[in-house]
Amino acid sequence: MSHPYAIGAVIVVALATVLIGALGLRISRTTSDFYVASRTVNARLNGAAISGEYLSAASFLGIAGLILAHGVDMLWYPLGYTAGFLVLLLFVAAPLRRSGAYTVPDFAEARLESLAVRRTAGALVAGIGWLYLLPQLQGAGLTLQTVTGAPRWVGGVVVALVVTANVTAGGMRSITFVQAFQYWLKLTALLVPLLFLGFAWHSDGSPGADAARPVFHRSTVVRTDTAVRIAIGTPERVTVSGTVDGRTYAAAPLALAPGIHALDTATTLDFPPGAEVPAKADDPTGSAWGRPLSDRTQPHPLYTVYGLILATFLGAMGLPHVVVRFYTSPQGRAARRTTLVVLGLLGVFYLLPSLYGALARIYAPDLVLTGDTDVAVLVLPERLVGGTGGALLGALLAGGAFAAFLSTCSGLAVSVAGVLHQDVLPPMGIRGFRRAAVLAVATPTVCTLVAVGLPVADAVGLAFAVAASSLCPLLVLGIWWPRLTPPGAIAGALTGGGTALAAALLTMADVFPNGWPHVLLAWPAVWSVPLGFLVMVAVSLATPGRIPPGTAVVLARLHLPETVAATPARGDVG
């Protein structure tokens, strides 16, 4: 599906991002504008900016793909991504803003008066940022491949280059406006095509996901990346290149009888129009797809769901680019109001990918076959609407997807670069930040070139799990527990984050392909989050002498309204 429209849309989005970033703030020549300029960012703008930065490729493409492949259990993803902000609102947002800290390492230093904790938090932030950047770049590669047919690595490199150039050139000066714009762009890019898809679906007779098998509307080529077994319902005549049921064909016609057929790697099947779409042999079919905990590709669905819930609910607060935005709020109350806005905006947005997932289930189940479920959102307009209209809608979706990659990558790159610049690399002044930005983007880019294959939303889930088991205990206990000590904080964050990260790496390396070990490692949050909290509390209790002397003052500042907490700020430390 190579379409000039889509390439145009991607270029337009990239240009708009750069231009708003560079020019967005050339406001005011006269005095009256002085007030406009010196007014702080209001909750609505800041909320849109946070949402824009937060809605990544995982939200835009990944969720629909997961729902298509694994059924309704995956609705926990959008729910968890949103609920993460509820937890943030309840426990963290306002106190964090009142602390005056700008990043999690800043908070760690302010709260625990220890440089060692600061460094630990910095290393964790960089690690989580990289883990999160990986799937973004992968998603970009996938999108560009779907849209233009370019090799998989091109998209990631393009996004990495645009983001690096933008950040190092100081183009993210008005990052709040850029990110707010990206939110509305992403929402539009999903909403408008969905309306058309909805009409098309309605005029198609509103088929349900458990209805009879869908048929290909036009001649369609299915290409397998791995060996799969497919179930064929009615006899079909197809053109095959590759191996089917152990026999090799070279662009030869073949009649597929009803039943199970085994396809080898890199086999292409060319289905004629009107042919029934084949299904994966072990795929949950029909009504099973719509029932909770029915996914047979995951061995322990209930455990998986709990792992997902814990990771996403608690992980959001540990994402480096999320916490940074709260600094822009003038006070704790404004921070809380901003979070409320974010909850609303995310809630609206996340209605859409789920609908795409359901539509893809009806009209593009062959994607499950090839494993390319992440492109479900992108191919739907072509399948349902077709023609120039479909191409235009597809272009809008591709543009929205690129907005997702660019906004999330920019936010992450800035945060990770800030940490590298301040806490890791030797001081080099302004130029140091640029070098740090290059390093911040280059590391995950190289990783995407080496490692492939993890579904976008899965990899994001792992980043969430690491954040939930390391930075979440640090923030929550730091804000609410006066007996936290620096050794406790370091031990807990490293144990929780370290085990979750090790689990993520083992999963990526595919050391345990199945069984309980695989499930435990793929969804580490269930055990790593409590482990992080436990170690942090236990070590803190074992080192009561190390409670920082300024704890009472800092906690008072975190929890009292700004006007009240003003007086005891000084003294008491010596």
Binding site: L25, R26, I27, S28, R29, T31, D33, F34, Y35, A37, S38, R39, T40, V41, G100, A101, Y102, T103, D106, E109, A110, E113, G170, M172, R173, S174, I175, T176, Y327, T328, S329, P330, V414, A417, G418, H421, Q422, P427, G429, I430, F433, A436, V511, F512, G545, R557, E562, T563, A566, A569, G574
Partner: protein
Amino acid sequence: MVQLLTLLAGVPLGAGAHWVLARRSRRERNRGTDVELATFRTLHTASLAAPPLRAGLTEDTARKAVRRLRPLLGTPAMCLTDEHTMLAWDGAGEHHRPEVMSKAAQVLASGRPQLVEVGCPDPSCPVRWAAVAPLKVDGRVLGTLAAYGPEDSPVLVRATGEVARWAAVQLELAELDRSRRDLIEAEIRTLRAQISPHFVFNSLAAIASFVRTDPDRARELLLEFAEFTRYSFRRHGDFTTLADELRSIDQYLNLVRARFGDRLEVALRVAPEVLPVALPFLCLQPLVENAVKHGIEGRPERGRITIGADDAGAEARVVIEDDGVGMEADRLRAILRGEGGPSHGIGLGNVDERLRRVYGDEYGLVIETGVEAGMKITVRIPKYHPGVRISPPPAPRA
């Protein structure tokens, strides 16, 4: 798979065991003589007691210090007092706590070490005699150190006296730390910029010129003036937000414009992300005042001032630029050293000094200028710096 895991777990364990063993055998080889070992041990114990004492004499620090000091003398009990109360007791015989102050009173008064008989009805109690030594700082007795033993020995008195003297030196250092901190704070406070008397005079004169021709404008300007002075005269807190500072600069520029009319052109570009950043109170206003002075005063043509604030990663960057007469590099250097004379740029040197004190030397002003080439001043402000906190405005007055 299991083998791989065992291997993974085994490697660090093996390495750790090897390290411990190697260390132990090395230690046994270089033991040193007994005297050397005793010296090391004493010095180590003393160094452990130093940090709490360096933080001053309080109940908390005394408790930690006395725990470290008692092994130095090897006495069954030890206690620390300040001038009025007993701070901490370590070791046996805690039932003697109430009588500590009565025994210490004489030492507090005389400032000389003393051996006192305690006497105890309990025959098993090791607390019979006390060697009480004063903690003298600058000739003043801040407290006492008492070591208790079963018999009266002159060695105990002498050893206690030496330990007390060592502890007193640490307390002296603590005092020094505190006064150094006070001094820096006092200096920062005196360095707080003040409105120049010229500005007050010029503003009032400019307002006066509007009183007949445009009373409304005069009233507005007077209100601006009141607001501006209220901000500048406020006494609480050393830090403010960039937003507040910019607001005050706006008021300042309105007053200046009343005097110069169209001759002053101001362009402003502020990234809203950096508005909540904390910065030293009144550290930008003097720079703008300087720009006004060099940009238009003493020149017949129009002057232009550009003020920009940008988000630069972990810091905010504020740039104040004018297109005025500029300055020679040598003169600028003299002004920054504080030798420029009262009429010129007290503000620049003062702001530079304050920024360096608060954030460190690498955060001083960066000034680019040349004769007839205008002047560009760049201020870098870390968004977060330990100890820098905004003091919120006082509750509005009724």
